[in-house]
């Protein structure tokens, strides 16, 4: 037993204590246990990070979980550069969200339940990032999904919340199905689930193909794409992005922690972790890059017209996750994880700021009904502004450095790279635009809500503003570890990641780097400027545009009708099949038809069939024994061949 075990164990303990004793004994003090546990994890994570920084990589097994023949699964921890940075992100954001929740969830009936789930989530996420084998990753993967389901549907009395929870869970099933097959294939082909063994042996599969329905498919490409399937679901990429915006039905701290900063980035983490596999398949890499770029552009355009403050931020999350995949797809895993790390701070800040606004507006989410909040809630305003500047990519702030690194490395990556670079730059402009749309509509101008709401406006309590201020520091300074050489920095973080994630070879000159940087800065400032004209200077322009380009506007407003499309091609056919074929035809016509058609035989058979349901225990036991007999016989025949 050593200290690393405690990192996930402390939140687990907090969960167990809160869920058992929370309802009767702990009640309103539930946050103490949870916060202390996360604080402990954070402290140990920092010390682990320092050890990694000095060059040590921790990799050991704690416990034999399953041993069966040559199938061996252990619970073990791998803390290398990648895990260390994830540990810092997860524990620090989690800690701040815990503190914020003390103010936000105050007086809620499920107070202890909320903190118990938050602890469970932290535990699961830590298991996910710390595991040294695939099955443990899979365990954490499913466990965070479960927590996400619990927390989206936290206010389960509300139908929309319960539905959103189910939607998240079901949509994720699609991705996880592929991921599960990928895990099984890795075990079948390589005979191990340990990272070190997988990465050591993966080269032997190179060039091998597998025959599926007559097509020869490259084995490594197949495995990589199956793994990516899981990432698409968890990180809400096209076509499985539909669950994330709906997930905003959960409490806002949950949106910040799970659906922005940590869980949804698990997909990016996984792709980066398996970079030795992805690197061997160019097809898979291009799929990753293009999926990321398309998702990024797609979500950014939707965010342009939405009015629900949390949904805008949610689509911005989808868009930024696309950015990270774009980075992974061009081989710039380090830049992707760097963006993950800076994004965690400014996006958590945006969400918590949105929560603070909601708190003041008594749950109102529509930015058209806000305005002029700047003077009522100065702390929220300034921190929100910093986060928006950071996400827009204004030089000097965290978002700028990571975004610039991604775009620069994409630019260097052949034809595909150039395409995704162009898309990424467009997204940068759109991001700046919609981020500042919130600022101008909600915080500037005059208040457009009701008088009661105006009377109620106030700054949030200390427990909520303090995390905002700390996160604001992160949103400014988190990027300073990655100042590129072109700006006189040392890009320390890229060198830090190099042993695990590698670093793409850059041939282009500094001049081109300045050009790429200049274009993205121009895009950011242009986006902000247009937003200022539209929503502050001449508010009639967007209205006129909406009327003039009505079809485009409604398409965007309805999120490209993806939900409707899925409803049309999946949900309705399934329901239709159920009611019209299974109930009406199968039950009504076929079964009844047979029964009426050959009555004598069926009555005879039915009498015997009914006899099976005699209610006698023994008859059930007899049929069970008969089943055993039949199965044993079949197995013996099959083996005897």
């Amino acid at each position: 037993m050593d200290k690393y075990v405690l990192i996930p164990l402390l939140p687990l303990t907090a969960f167990v204590i809160n869920i058992i004793f929370g309802k009767w004994i702990i009640k309103e003090k539930a946050h103490w246990i949870a916060i202390l546990a996360v604080l402990g994890s954070f402290a140990i994570a920092v010390s682990a990070f320092l050890e990694v920084l000095s060059g040590k990589v921790i990799n050991y097994d704690v416990y034999n979980w399953i041993v069966s023949g040559n199938f061996k699964v252990t619970v073990g921890f791998l803390i290398d550069q990648l895990t260390a940075i994830m540990l810092i992100v997860v524990t620090s954001v989690s800690l701040l969200v815990h503190i914020y929740s003390v103010g936000y969830m105050h007086g809620d009936g499920g107070y202890y339940r909320f903190f118990a789930y938050l602890s469970l989530f932290t535990f699961s996420m830590l298991m996910l990032v710390m595991g040294n084998n695939l099955l443990q990753l899979y365990f954490g993967w499913e466990a965070v999904g479960l927590c996400s389901y619990f927390l989206i549907g936290f206010w389960y009395e509300k139908k929309s919340a319960a539905d959103a929870g189910k939607k998240a869970f079901i949509v994720n099933r699609f991705g996880d199905f592929g991921f599960g097959i990928g895990v099984i294939m890795i075990f079948l082909m390589l005979g191990s689930l340990h990272y070190t063994e997988i990465f050591g042996k993966i080269g032997t599969l190179q060039g091998q193909a597998i025959n599926i329905l007559g097509y020869n498919v490259d084995l490594i490409t197949l495995i990589a794409l199956l793994l990516f399937c899981g990432a698409v679901g968890k990180s809400a990429q096209i076509p499985l992005h539909v669950w994330l915006p709906d997930a905003m039905e959960g409490p806002t701290p949950v949106s910040a922690l799970i659906h922005a900063a940590t869980m949804v980035t698990a997909g990016v983490f996984m792709v980066a972790r398996f970079n030795p596999i992805f690197n061997l398949s160019e097809t898979a890499m291009n799929v990753v890059a293009l999926t990321g770029a398309i998702t990024s552009l797609f979500a950014a355009t939707i965010a342009l017209v939405q009015n629900d403050i949390k949904r805008i931020v949610a689509y911005s999350t989808v868009s930024q996750l696309g950015y990270m995949f774009l980075a992974c797809g061009v081989g710039a895993y380090g830049a992707g994880i760097f963006h993950l790390y800076t994004h965690a701070y400014f996006k958590a800040l945006l969400f918590l700021g949105a929560g603070s606004v909601m708190h003041a507006m008594a749950g109102e989410l529509d930015i058209q009904k806000m305005g002029g909040l700047k003077k009522y809630m100065p702390v929220t305003y300034w921190t929100f502004l910093i986060a928006s500047l950071s996400i827009a990519g204004i030089p000097g702030l965290a978002g700028f450095f990571s975004k610039d690194e991604i775009l620069w490395l994409a630019y260097n990556h052949g034809t595909v790279g150039k395409i995704v670079w162009a898309m990424g730059t467009a997204v940068a402009a759109l991001t700046a635009f919609y981020s500042f749309r919130i600022i101008f509509l909600a915080f500037h101008g005059t208040f457009r809500g009701t008088h009661e709401q105006e009377h109620h406006l106030h700054e949030s309590p200390k427990a909520m503003t303090m995390p905002l201020m700390i996160l604001a520091v992160g949103a400014v300074a988190a990027g300073w570890v990655g100042i590129p050489a072109a700006l006189g920095g040392s890009n320390a973080i890229a060198h830090f990641f190099e042993p695990v994630l590698g670093h793409p070879h850059v041939t282009a000159a500094h001049e081109e780097e300045y050009m790429v940087m200049g274009i993205s800065i121009a895009a950011a400032i242009g986006g902000i400027f247009v937003s200022w004209i539209f929503y502050s200077l001449k508010p009639e322009i967007p209205k006129n545009l909406a009327v003039k380009f009505k079809s485009i506007y409604t398409t965007l407003w309805n999120k490209y009708y993806v939900d409707e499309l899925y409803d049309f091609i999946i949900v309705r056919p399934v329901k239709w099949t159920a009611t019209n074929i299974l109930v009406a035809v199968t039950d009504g016509k076929i079964i009844e038809g047979i029964v009426n058609g050959v009555p004598a035989a069926i009555r005879n058979f039915g009498e015997r069939l009914r006899k099976l349901q005699t209610g006698y225990l023994q008859h059930y036991a007899l049929s069970m024994a008969l089943g055993v007999f039949v199965i044993l016989t079949l197995v013996l025949i099959a083996k005897g061949r």
């Binding site: 349901q613 209610g615 225990l617 023994q618 036991a621």
Partner: protein, 104 residues
């Protein structure tokens, strides 16, 4: 002791016979108490084979399994008999032909 001088198959065969007697007892007796005892018989049969395997393979894990099976058997007997007691109190029934509410 010279357990190893008897072939392993003999133990497995004995275990199989006792297991099947347990299965048969469970299937043909009406009295629920006897049925529960048949379950104990089956568990014991499995234990015999596990101990025999453990002895022949010189691996103690088989005996640890037996230990766990005994634990589960104790729990199962306690719960099974408690269900039986409440069944007897509510319906005065100990025979399976007296509890056929599931009849189709």
């Amino acid at each position: 002791m010279g357990g190893a001088m008897v072939p392993l198959e003999w133990y497995i065969g004995l275990s199989a016979v006792i297991f099947i007697i347990g299965v048969a007892g469970f299937m043909i007796r009406k009295n629920i108490i006897i049925m529960l005892m048949s379950i104990e018989l089956m568990l014991n049969a499995v234990n015999i084979s596990l101990v025999a395997f453990s002895h022949y393979l010189q691996d103690l894990r088989g005996q640890v399994m037996v230990f766990f099976i005994i634990t589960v058997a104790a729990a199962e007997a306690a719960i099974g008999l408690a269900i039986l007691v409440s069944l007897f109190k509510n319906k005065a029934a100990v025979h399976t032909d007296e509890i056929i509410e599931m009849k189709g």
